[in-house]
C-alpha cells in the first residue's frame, strides 16, 4: 500500500473487514439497532443481548454491508466488546468518537480500544469518519434502549 492510503487502510482494518468478527445476528436480541449512512446507503444492524448468567454483561452481534472502514470497524467493536460489562460501553464509545473526531491528534489507547486504535488514521479523512462511526453509533443507540 502507498502513502496516505496506508494510514487509512491499515492492515488491521482490512483484516477485520475480511474476518467480520461477530457477524451474524442473534436469534432473540434484547435490542436491535439499525443505522444507515445516508450518503452511501451503507447499513448495519447491531444486536445486544444481556447475558442470562452475568446480567451486567452483554453479547454483541451485527450484520451489515459497506466499505472496508465501516465493516472493519464493526468487527473491531465486536471483538473488543462482546461480553463486556454494560457499564463500560458508554466510555468506550466516547473514546472512539473522540479519537475519530480528532483530525489525527489523538492516537487512542489500545487498552481501551483494542484493535480499534487502528482507526486513528481515519480521523484525518473527515469524509470517512462516519463510516468508522457507524457501528459505534448503532451500539450507542442500542445501549440507550437496553431495558
Amino acid at each position: 500500500m502507498t502513502g496516505g492510503l496506508d494510514q487509512l487502510y491499515g492492515d488491521l482494518i482490512v483484516d477485520h473487514a475480511e474476518r467480520r468478527v461477530g457477524a451474524g445476528l442473534l436469534e432473540d436480541p434484547d435490542v436491535r439497532s439499525h443505522q444507515v449512512n445516508p450518503t452511501c446507503g451503507d447499513e448495519i444492524w447491531l444486536d445486544l443481548a444481556v447475558d442470562p448468567e452475568r446480567p451486567d454483561a452483554v453479547h454483541i452481534a451485527w450484520e451489515g454491508h459497506g466499505c472496508l472502514i465501516s465493516q472493519g470497524s464493526a468487527s473491531m467493536l465486536a471483538e473488543l466488546l462482546d461480553g463486556a460489562p454494560r457499564a463500560e460501553l458508554p466510555a468506550r464509545i466516547a473514546a472512539v468518537r473522540e479519537m475519530l473526531h480528532s483530525r489525527g491528534t489523538i492516537a487512542g489507547d489500545e487498552d481501551v480500544l483494542g484493535d480499534a486504535v487502528a482507526l486513528a488514521g481515519v480521523s484525518r479523512y473527515v469524509a470517512r469518519v462516519k463510516c468508522a462511526m457507524l457501528a459505534w453509533v448503532a451500539l450507542e443507540d442500542a445501549v440507550a434502549r437496553l431495558p
Binding site: 492510503l5 452511501c40 446507503g41 451503507d42 459497506g66 466499505c67 472496508l68 472502514i69
Partner: protein, 441 residues
C-alpha cells in the same frame, strides 16, 4: 461589457464541427479550478454530473454585477434598481432562448429540486381548492394516479410520493429493463385513463439512459396527463428544446451547467404556469393585497416571492452564453466520444460491471460502475488519492440502485472541459484498484 462575458476566452465561437482535444485543452484555461492540484496530483475532475465547474465568464459576470449594479429587482426606481432589473430579465430571456422557451415561462428557483416541488405543491394547493376556477384542471385526489419511473433522482420521486400522500392519489412506477432503459410495455400499461401527472428524467444521472420523452408525451397527452421533465442531466449536456419536446413542465439546475449554485429553473407552458397556484407567497408576487387576501401576478412572478437571486441568475445567463458559443451539439458529441472511451475502457478491465446502456446507443456522458469485491467508497478514496474526483454512493437514486442489487456505485461524469487524457488517467488508476484492495493480484 468585457468581451469574455460573451463566450470562451480562448475560442471565440468555433466553427470546426467537432470539439477536438486541442480546443478542449485551450478552453480549460477559462476554468481556473481545473488547474488545481489535489494531494500533489493535477485535479482530474470527473464529477460534473453532481456539479460543474464555472468559467471566468461566469465568475466575472457575477463579480461585475455585484461590484457595479447590485440592487433588489422589481422594487424601487433608482438607477441601480433599474439596471439590476433589466439585467435580471435579460438573463431570463437568455436562458429561455437556450431551451426554446419564452421568457415569461422561465421561473427562477433555487435548483431543480425546488422547481419540481413548486409543481407538486402547486398541484397540491389546487387540490384543496386554491387558485380558483382556472386551477381546477390541476386538482387531483383518490382514484387519480401519478406516474414516475424507477430511474428517478430522489428529487423527482419524493415530491410525488408526498403529493400522493397529501391528496390520496396513488403513485405508480414504470420499471427498468436490465440494460437501464424504461420498460416499454409498462409505459403503455401504467400510463392510462387515471394518470394525471407523469414525472420522468430526460437523462438518468446514474445510468446515462436517455428516456423516450416523445413517446411518453404522446401517451400522457392522449389521456390528458401532464408531463414533468427532470432535465437536470440533459439541458447542460445536449441541445434541448422544451417546447419541441412537448412536455408541460421542465426543471434544471444552474450549477450543473457551468453556472453558480443557488439558481435553477422551472419551465412551464405559459397557460399552465399562469393557472398553477403559487407555493411560496409574500412580497413581489402580488397585484393587490388586503388584510384578508391577495391577488397574484401571472407567471413567472407569482412563483418568485421575496428578494430574488439576482447575481446567480446573471451568472447562469453568462454560463448559457458560454455554452452557446461552443455549441450544444458539439458538447453532446464530445461527451459521447468520452463516454465511449470510458465504457470501452472499463469493459476491458476484469471484475468491473457497468450499469446502464452500452456504448453506441444515445446516452449521457457518464458511467456508473461496480468493482467486484471493493466497495464504491473505497474505490472513490483510492481514486481521490491520485487526484481523481468521482462520485460514489447512491447518487440520490436508491430505488435505482436497489433494482440492480447494489447500494452504491462509482460514477465518472464528463463535461465539455473533460479530456481524453483525464479519462485515461481514471481508467489507469481504476485498473489497479482491485489489486490494491487485495481482491486480485
Amino acid at each position: 461589457m468585457p468581451i469574455r462575458e460573451r463566450g470562451p476566452v480562448t475560442s471565440p465561437a468555433s466553427t470546426s464541427a467537432t470539439l477536438g482535444d486541442a480546443e478542449v485543452r485551450a478552453l480549460r484555461a477559462d476554468f481556473p479550478i481545473l488547474a488545481e492540484h489535489v494531494g500533489g496530483h493535477p485535479l482530474v475532475y470527473l464529477d460534473s454530473g453532481a456539479t460543474a465547474q464555472q468559467p471566468l465568464a461566469v465568475l466575472d459576470a457575477v463579480d461585475d454585477f455585484v461590484r457595479h449594479r447590485n440592487a433588489a429587482v422589481h422594487r424601487g426606481a433608482h438607477t441601480l434598481a433599474a439596471e439590476a432589473t433589466e439585467e435580471f430579465e435579460d438573463a431570463r430571456a437568455t436562458v429561455a432562448a437556450f431551451v426554446g422557451a419564452r421568457p415569461e415561462e422561465i421561473v427562477w428557483t433555487t435548483n431543480a429540486t425546488e422547481a419540481i416541488n413548486i409543481v407538486a405543491y402547486g398541484v397540491s394547493n389546487a387540490s384543496v381548492g386554491r387558485g380558483g376556477a382556472e386551477a381546477r384542471r390541476f386538482a387531483i385526489g383518490p382514484g387519480d394516479e401519478i406516474v414516475a419511473t424507477e430511474l428517478e433522482h430522489h428529487a423527482n420521486l419524493i415530491p410525488w410520493q408526498e403529493l400522493a400522500a397529501r391528496t390520496g392519489a396513488s403513485l405508480r412506477i414504470v420499471h427498468l429493463e436490465d440494460d437501464g432503459t424504461l420498460r416499454e410495455d409498462e409505459l403503455a400499461s401504467v400510463i392510462g385513463e387515471r394518470t394525471r401527472i407523469v414525472a420522468v428524467a430526460h437523462v438518468s444521472n446514474v445510468l446515462g439512459t436517455v428516456t423516450p420523452v416523445e413517446r411518453i408525451v404522446a401517451l400522457a397527452h392522449a389521456v390528458g396527463a401532464l408531463v414533468v421533465l427532470d432535465a437536470c442531466q440533459s439541458v447542460p449536456h445536449r441541445p434541448v428544446d422544451v417546447a419541441a419536446l412537448g412536455v408541460d413542465f421542465a426543471a434544471f439546475s444552474g450549477h450543473k451547467m457551468l453556472g453558480p449554485t443557488g439558481v435553477g429553473v422551472l419551465w412551464g407552458r405559459r397557460e399552465l404556469l399562469d393557472a398553477l397556484p403559487p407555493v411560496l407567497t409574500g412580497g413581489s408576487m402580488i397585484t393587490t393585497v388586503s388584510l384578508e387576501s391577495a391577488e397574484y401576478l401571472p407567471a413567472p412572478q407569482r412563483f418568485e416571492a421575496g428578494t430574488q437571486k439576482v447575481a446567480q441568475a446573471i451568472g447562469l445567463a453568462a454560463a448559457v452564453r458560454y455554452l452557446e458559443a461552443i455549441g450544444m451539439e458539439r458538447v453532446r458529441e464530445h461527451e459521447e466520444r468520452l463516454a465511449r472511451r470510458l465504457l470501452e475502457g472499463v469493459s476491458a478491465l476484469p471484475g468491473m460491471t457497468v450499469l446502464g446502456p452500452p456504448a453506441g446507443v444515445d446516452r449521457g456522458g457518464l458511467v456508473s460502475l461496480v468493482v467486484d469485491g471493493v466497495h464504491a467508497h473505497d474505490v472513490g478514496q483510492y481514486l481521490d488519492e491520485a487526484g481523481i474526483a468521482v462520485r460514489v454512493g447512491h447518487h440520490c437514486a436508491q430505488p435505482l440502485h436497489r433494482r440492480f442489487g447494489v447500494t452504491a456505485t462509482v460514477r465518472a461524469s464528463t463535461y465539455l472541459y473533460t479530456t481524453e487524457e483525464e479519462v485515461d488517467a481514471f481508467l489507469d488508476r481504476l485498473a489497479s484498484v482491485r489489486s490494491f484492495f487485495r481482491v486480485a493480484r
